[in-house]
Symmetry: C2
């Protein structure tokens, strides 16, 4: 959106008016974050029992909610970003391939073990995940339905001839976020362009409703589990600024009469249990689907939390994702997938899917200590533009 818009960025007064309008619209549309000062609560609210006298002299009271504090809007760009339609179509087309690839990796225990063997030796977090993976395999998988909600992140590579190419930076296989807030941002960007009188451009902004799509995936898993009174258990962090992103999915589920209960790993430790058929119960409520919005970083796990994770993985609730799918999202696996011939092994007889996938690979390089890592670093210093480095550790999840 840079070309021809440069003068806009010079007019500070207009930018400020646009920002005021955009902020109010973002707030009204629910593009919200809890504040860092109050990450555990959307407000410091109180329930006022409001009493009004009725004609016959008795009192009628009802709860009225009053707030002292408060939320803020999620950071967003003032203008939308231009995406060449061919690249957007390409990203849509390749997503199913990525989903099938993630599934194939997660089901391939030998590949995971071989690929992660060096990582496990140095990285306690991946080692812990892998231990649970092995333990669950040994005991026997209780649930054959798996739910993956994967998010591919892309950047555009400028080719030598000036054309743009779609390059995947990473795929998130656990706790992929911002689907909820992203459902609300097109309205904000349309608003900004309409204020500028750019109605044609505004009309070109595509609608997007990932929160509905994500909810429909969870609803399908819930349906396949097949117990009308069972709940969806959302594993949440205590301090969750991004709750409105999650609430958007919860709201979609509630509209389908599927109830979500939010609990922390600590709650699972205290009040979660399996019955003899490994059915999962939280507070005496049966759980059909476990949806992880926590557990993707080392800091999320105390020893107690690892125990809770094991309990959940052993259960016959559908996991979103199961631990093998989480492992399939590690950087080390993504690096291994870019090795020559590897996609053909994992997706035999699917040369077209392999070609679509490989076209989006940006190249991932090991920065491990050792010969392989040294070589990659040497190459990076020699030709820095080949690299996209993102400060992200193993584990794959976002936010």
């Amino acid at each position: 959106m840079a070309t021809g818009w440069g003068s806009l960025l010079q007019d500070e007064q207009q930018l400020e008016e646009l920002a005021r309008q955009a902020v109010d619209r973002a707030l009204a549309e629910g593009v919200l974050l809890r504040t860092s000062q109050e990450p555990s609560s959307s407000d410091v609210s109180f329930i006022l029992m409001h009493r009004i006298p009725s004609v016959n002299g008795s009192q009628f009271s009802f709860p009225l909610l009053m707030a002292i504090l408060v939320v803020s809007y999620a950071p967003f760009t003032l203008f939308p970003s231009l995406v060449p339609s061919a690249l957007l179509e390409q990203a849509y087309a390749v997503q199913m391939d990525f989903n099938l690839l993630v599934d194939a990796v997660s089901q391939n225990a030998a590949f995971l073990e071989q690929t992660l063997s060096s990582t496990i030796k140095r990285d306690n977090f991946t080692a812990h995940l892998f231990d649970i993976h092995k333990q669950v395999l040994k005991e026997g998988i209780a649930q054959t339905v798996f739910l993956g909600l994967n998010r591919s992140d892309y950047m555009f590579q400028r080719n030598a001839d000036g054309s743009a190419a779609l390059k995947q930076i990473e795929i998130n296989t656990i706790s992929a976020s911002f689907g909820g807030l992203a459902s609300r941002t097109p309205a904000v960007h349309r608003h900004v362009l309409n204020v500028l009188g750019k109605t044609k451009e505004a009309a070109k902004i595509l609608s997007n409703n990932p929160s509905k799509g994500l909810a429909m995936g969870i609803a399908k898993a819930w349906e396949l589990y097949g117990s009308a009174n069972a709940r969806v258990l959302l594993i949440a962090q205590e301090k969750e600024r991004n709750i409105f992103d999650q609430r958007a999915i919860e709201n979609e589920l509630l509209a389908r009469n599927i109830h979500v209960i939010r609990r922390k790993f600590e709650d699972v430790s205290e009040k979660g249990s399996l019955d003899q058929d490994r059915r999962l119960f939280m507070d005496d409520q049966e759980v059909a689907v476990v949806y992880f919005r926590d557990g993707y970083m080392p800091s999320h796990y105390s020893l107690q939390n690892w125990g809770a994770r094991l309990l959940l993985e052993r259960s016959c609730a559908v996991k979103c994702p199961d631990i093998a799918t989480q492992l399939a999202g590690t950087k080390k696996v993504q690096q291994e997938l870019s090795r020559s011939g590897m996609l053909e092994v994992l997706l035999p007889g699917q040369p077209e899917a392999v070609a679509r996938l490989r076209a989006t690979f940006a190249g991932l390089y090991s920065l491990d200590m050792g010969e392989e890592g040294d070589q990659a670093i040497t190459e990076a210093i020699a030709a820095p533009s080949c690299f996209v480095l993102k400060p992200q550790r193993e584990g794959g999840g976002m936010y």
Copy 2:
């Protein structure tokens, strides 16, 4: 919603979980108020010029909005209120009668002068409004299109036989508010009932979109004014906590490619002007419609602001409302309308409309110093249940 729901109010833990859910839903739906600490701004935000390097070594920068502060949700009841469908239908049916009555009063200069003669002597605010009214009449009305956006407030009266009757408390003819936020509350109340598993009751909550209806009224006035580039001028207060209610209407207008500019009376004094045809200009932009969300209370007017109001009234922009319609909403006029035979004078040949209107009258009594007021007070003390007293002064507007 009290009957059969009493046990709910006893379970504090459940109430708190419901409140958490309801607050998050209200925030996500945009049921918002600015905080009293920061009534002039939705945030303490800054525009960050975000720079990212591109492949060819140049930098690309774009504005990214970041917030420090904040808004809160508007107070709301946790549960919806039951309204007997017959009374709701009655309220719908009588609204057009009220609109026609307000219009008839506003066009009846003799009635207004006679009715308000005693008020004007004691109340400077009404006297000021009336002065402008007379001055504009004397000069000759520049615009024959008038827009009224009126809100009737009702309570239910319990009759001796246990049945309920619809009684109008007041009608607001200027700056009637909460149409915007009311458009968003059905989703919140449905959510609360769905969380309780009361899906049938939730499905009975009617959708309501007054912000669209209000915007369509303004859009019609804009269209009748007939100048494609003219703006809607929203007269706003500097400290406006209820801006999201107004933004909902602005957004509906913007979606119809009608641009709203928000200005204070002070801005009109400084930068507003009339041309020789009494066309109104603000900052060199022609104004088709003036929409007052300010100017309904004495505290809203400095001497300078009275001058700005006169300028707006003299213009050929469509006023919403014009000053005569504002006067038609005063308590004194509403009291006069309840006098025997008065409706028949104002709405000749419309006995059915008169009957519908009179059925909703709760009775308004003068508390003026003097014989009439003394009599009313004596009656009130003798039979207090006949009275609905609301702490509201002349001027009629809400919020």
